[in-house]
Amino acid sequence: MEWVVAAQPILLILSSAALPLLSAFVRRTSVIDLVAAATSAISLAISVYALVAVARFGTLVYRFGGFPPPLGIVYVVDEASATLGLLATFSLLLSVAYGSWILEPASRYLFYATAFLLVAGCTSLFYTADLFNLYVSAELTSISAYVLTSFYRSRGAAIRAASIYALSASLVLSLLLLSVFMLYGSYGTLNMADLALKSRNPGAWVPLSGTVFGDIVLASKVSLAIIAWLMIFKSAIVPNHFWLPGVYMEAPTPAVALFTASADIIGVYGAARLLITVFGAGTVFDGYRRMLLDVLLVIAAASALISSTLVTSQESVRRIVAYSTIAQYSLAFAGVVSGTLEGVAGAMLHLVANGLGDALVLYSAGIAAVACGRSLTCLSYLRGYRVAHLALIVGFLNLFGIIPLLPGFWSKALLTLAMVKAGRPLGAALVLAVSGLCAIGYFRAVASSLKPSPMVVRSKGYRGGTVLPIAVLLVLLVATISLGVLLLVSDSIRSFVVEGIGNSVEDYERYIRLVLGS
């Protein structure tokens, strides 16, 4: 059944192509909505299946066309990639549902088609064990993200935000392509397991790719630097964050919620996969790698502090979410580059917690935004919608992450643990200090939502009631709280996160064995 996983990106790409065609023939937008919902539901089902299968039987490996590696493309679905894949497809389904409520019917199909492309790129990036395929997936994801950012193409600010994003990201991604060439030129292979093997044992001989045939040390060092920069850029770590606030202000609400759970997490995942698994501990250039990780840790720490300070003074929910996302990604990045098992596991869980929290906040604030506007004072409008109000508060509490009933607590606890284990107790203090600074912004928003303010006049009514967004929020609430409670009460879930996800990234020998065989 491994082929199901490989079918997931293909299904998404095919339906992305089919939706515009369908919209040319079918007048009723509800049909388009249904097709989109069905596709994303199937895709979510595949991800659930993959995660359950990984948890029960271990890593899934699928070889495209049956080619023996390192010849063809290999998909490796392990604990880390299955978890993030599930996060991406889950948020895809929710943003399709929410989009069908908030977006204009005439242009909705474009949103669906691009969102499918974006998630296809993400899942393929999570699963792939081929560096060139990883580059292509990153490009696919990024291009879809530019398009979604400029979804409201009549707005100048949206075009501007998309242009800044597209120009800078294309530049960084083309450098990744350059490093792919360099690695191929020296290692003679782009299979990630093959790279992992040869970077540790340059004399190793692998059928079909042979041995290395260049100076792998220099090429690896240059490539590592480029990869590190790319991942910092994609994770919007300060000072490479400049593109993110604009994107989060201008993209449609469901797109932003989708970004925080798919397109923007590829930086942290990529850093974990490439800097820890592939070019991880034990490589022949390990001293350089360690220095690089230390530098990255300092950058991530500074970025977390700066961005969380910025969170305190923002006046709209979107901006709070934007800067808080930068801060949370910085923490996750710090967890990855700490190099510990708990750090990697905490980082992945942190991405999940942040994605859920951002979605709760954005979707509930979206209800207020439609009726009133985006400023914080408009949040008091939610007093009329109990579920939405609860969702907003739970979302912020989850982002704050200090209640053990929410997953945000567990990811922060893991990150703290990672810092303590890495011998950096001040790093543990940093994690909490960043949470505290962010909390000022969160609590200002919560306080505004609690304040009784003069009744806001509805500028325009809700299309088709608020049943759909409320249902989306309910699903999110249930998912968030049940994940938190499961982490609290179940030892096996906790060990899946720590040992399972942690080892799937840290244990490079297992990765090599799974992909290359013996």
Partner: protein
């Protein structure tokens, strides 16, 4: 019968029932009626039954905290109506009290952390309450200060302890069975500073005066009366884990000496009654931290007991004094000492209640503050010959007690002043409804003196004397109170006739 036993032994069941009762009592329809009051009081009283408490320390804090919570849940509705015109403060205060008490009733680390963090969150919104209902930006600022300098440092401590304990042990083992390794000096300091920030001990002391004086009075009573003890309790727990003892001693001794004197001095010069009380809290918690640091030095648990009794005394007198300050605020709309001094004219009974609390604050028998003072002095004096540090500690405590007399008297001048200013016209007589609850709390606190005396008399021969002379002291107090009441009444009559 066995079933009853099993039910009583189920912590979760008792806790759940208690939470359910308190929530039930907060249903808007019955919130301000007898069924609501009964449900909430029963909910709080039920917490006493929770078995498996970690230590006498937590048990004492739980018992005294429950007493405060019971009277506070009766006090808050009237206060909330009088000050804000709505009952919206009641659920917040109740849940806040509940979560703090649940911290003291926790038997596992994960439980402790959960309730601790919930309590901190609710504390934030209580401090920011005036911002929520009256858009007072000062309240938001105080809340943010509290968040950054009290909440976050404590969270660092808790997370570090959780990290070093391991998740599975935190969930499955009792608090007394875990042993996180805090021996690295940096970790020791980090963890201790976190709990200092909750107990408002230097260097994280400065958030407290604003937070405790800006919050609504029932919240101040909880913040100052019980919540700061969470910090003391945290330090107590940390001391039972492996840690760098020299670093811990140096940090704790220095910080607490500084804060004890600084808080006392500041309290003596305040003119705002709530600020005065807030600074005095700082001074008292520092004294408790000082006692705990002497435990590290000596290894004798006598200092733990002293700190526990001190904490209980502080719970009672500080909560009742903050309730009193709320009463004064409602009655006169004034918090500045310079403009007060006539409260006894309109509420002599409340002046008496406040007098007993003030007496407790500077340690007169038979108030529970007296017991705290006795145990503190006795325990330190016993060790004087071993190290100069004990001499220094005794000196600091003596100065602190002297200062406490100064500010206690100063506080009481809100009630009665020799040169009385004329009472303002805009008095809110509804405040009188609050008096019975404060009187009740004070009565319970005197009962506590006796109870603690009984429990601890095996350890302190001095306490046996307390118990033996207790009836005499109680009668003396009663006579004193009656006499004072008579004098106050006399004074009032004279003034009224003079004005007439």
């Amino acid at each position: 019968m066995e079933y009853v036993q099993v039910l009583l032994n189920s912590r979760e069941l008792i806790l759940a029932t208690s939470i359910a009762l308190i929530l039930l009592g907060n249903i808007p329809a019955i919130r301000e009626r007898v069924p609501g009051y009964v449900a909430r009081v029963a909910g709080f009283l039920l917490l006493v039954l929770i078995p498996g408490s970690v230590s006498p320390f937590s048990r004492l804090l739980l018992l005294s905290g429950v007493s405060v919570a019971v009277f506070l849940t009766l006090y808050t509705p009237k206060y909330s109506r009088a000050k804000y015109g709505s009952p919206s403060l009641i659920p917040l205060v109740d849940l806040f009290a509940l979560s703090i008490l649940a911290v003291f009733a926790s038997s596992r680390l994960i439980e402790l952390i959960t309730f601790w963090l919930v309590a901190e969150l609710l504390g934030f919104f209580l401090i920011a309450y005036d911002y929520l209902v009256k858009a007072d930006r000062g309240a938001l600022l105080a809340a943010v200060k509290y968040l950054l300098f009290s909440m976050i440092p404590t969270d660092v401590s808790l997370f570090v302890i959780l990290a070093l304990t391991g998740f599975s042990d935190a969930v499955h083992l009792q608090l007394s069975e875990i042993a996180p390794d805090l021996t690295s000096p940096l970790v020791t300091v980090l963890v201790l500073l976190g709990f200092f920030s909750k107990a408002a001990v230097f260097p994280f002391h400065f958030w407290l005066p604003d937070a405790h004086s800006i919050a609504p009075s029932p919240a101040s009573a909880l913040l100052s009366g019980i919540m700061v003890k969470m910090g003391i309790y945290g330090i107590y727990l940390v001391e039972s884990y492996p840690l760098s003892r020299d670093t811990a001693l140096a940090t704790m001794f220095l910080s607490s000496c500084l804060t004890a004197i600084y808080g006392g001095l500041q309290a003596s010069v305040q003119s705002d009654i709530k600020k005065l009380l807030a600074y005095s809290t700082m001074s008292h918690t520092a004294a408790m931290a000082l006692l705990l640091s002497l435990y590290i030095l000596s290894g004798d648990s006598v200092f733990i007991d002293a700190a526990a009794i001190y904490a209980v005394a502080h719970v009672f007198f500080k909560s009742s004094l903050f309730m009193d300050s709320g009463f004064i605020e409602i009655l006169t709309g004034e918090r500045n000492l310079g403009k007060l001094g006539y409260v006894y004219l309109y509420a002599p009974a409340e002046s008496l209640v406040a007098m007993v609390s003030v007496l407790s604050m500077f340690g007169m028998p038979p108030a529970v503050g007296f017991l705290a003072k006795v145990v503190t002095f006795v325990s330190i004096s016993y060790y004087l010959k071993y190290s100069w540090l004990y001499v220094l500690a005794l000196l600091v405590i003596s100065v602190k007690v002297a200062l406490s007399v100064v500010y206690s008297v100063k506080y009481f001048r809100a009630h009665i002043e020799v040169e009385v200013k004329s009472g303002s016209a805009g008095l809110d007589r509804k405040a009188v409804e609050l008096i019975p609850y404060m009187a009740g709390l004070v009565a319970v606190s005197i009962g506590f003196t006796f109870a603690i005396g009984t429990v601890y008399e095996g350890f302190y021969s001095e306490l046996k004397v307390v118990r033996e002379v207790f009836p005499v002291l109680a009668i003396a107090l009663l006579m004193f109170v009656l006499l004072a009441f008579y004098l106050l009444e006399l004074l009032r009559r004279t003034r009224e006739s003079g004005e007439g």
